[in-house]
Amino acid sequence: MKVEVDGGTVEILPLVSIFCIVMGCIGVILNTDYLDKIIMLEFLTGGLIGLIVSFYYLDVAILTSIMEPVSTVILLLGSLKYLYLKRSKKRYSSKLPILVK
């Protein structure tokens, strides 16, 4: 998979993967909402798996691919729990006299 450009050879898969990783890092820093941050983290992970594959570590790539949805699901469950907690605390804080003191 080498593309010859005027003398040297350039491979496409590491190039795309490094582009994805750099853009994902900048996007995780710049976005402020947490769901946007998780989508950008997904974008970064795709590039990371591509970079691992381009150095022929196939077992590490397969294990990373299996473990990556698990971590995403745990992050999303945590964010939903945070949202529920914020809403329920706002609703009940004026009614409970124990928390006012």
Partner: protein
């Protein structure tokens, strides 16, 4: 000169830029799906052995699973914010 790999690389660069620049969250998820297709095809074309095919299949199914989880959470958050 391999035209096919160069074409898939150009497509993934364009889609990656559009993931970075779009403001809408649902459209960002659709572009990410196209990027997953392109990366799985590049993995299979880079490693010409059956193990590369297994790696591409596992990567694709895992990324589809996490996209499913993100879309489900977006729907739940929209329903929660629309109601109250």
């Amino acid at each position: 000169m391999d035209t096919l790999v160069l074409l898939i690389g150009v497509i993934s660069f364009v889609v990656g830029l559009r993931v970075f620049l779009t403001r809408n969250r649902v459209q960002r998820l659709l572009y990410l799906c196209c990027l997953n297709f392109a990366i799985a095809a590049l993995i299979a074309l880079y490693i010409k052995s059956p193990m590369g095919g297994v790696a591409a299949a596992v990567y694709f199914i895992g990324s589809t699973l996490s996209s499913n989880a993100i879309a489900h959470t977006i729907g739940k958050v929209q329903r929660l914010e629309g109601r109250g």
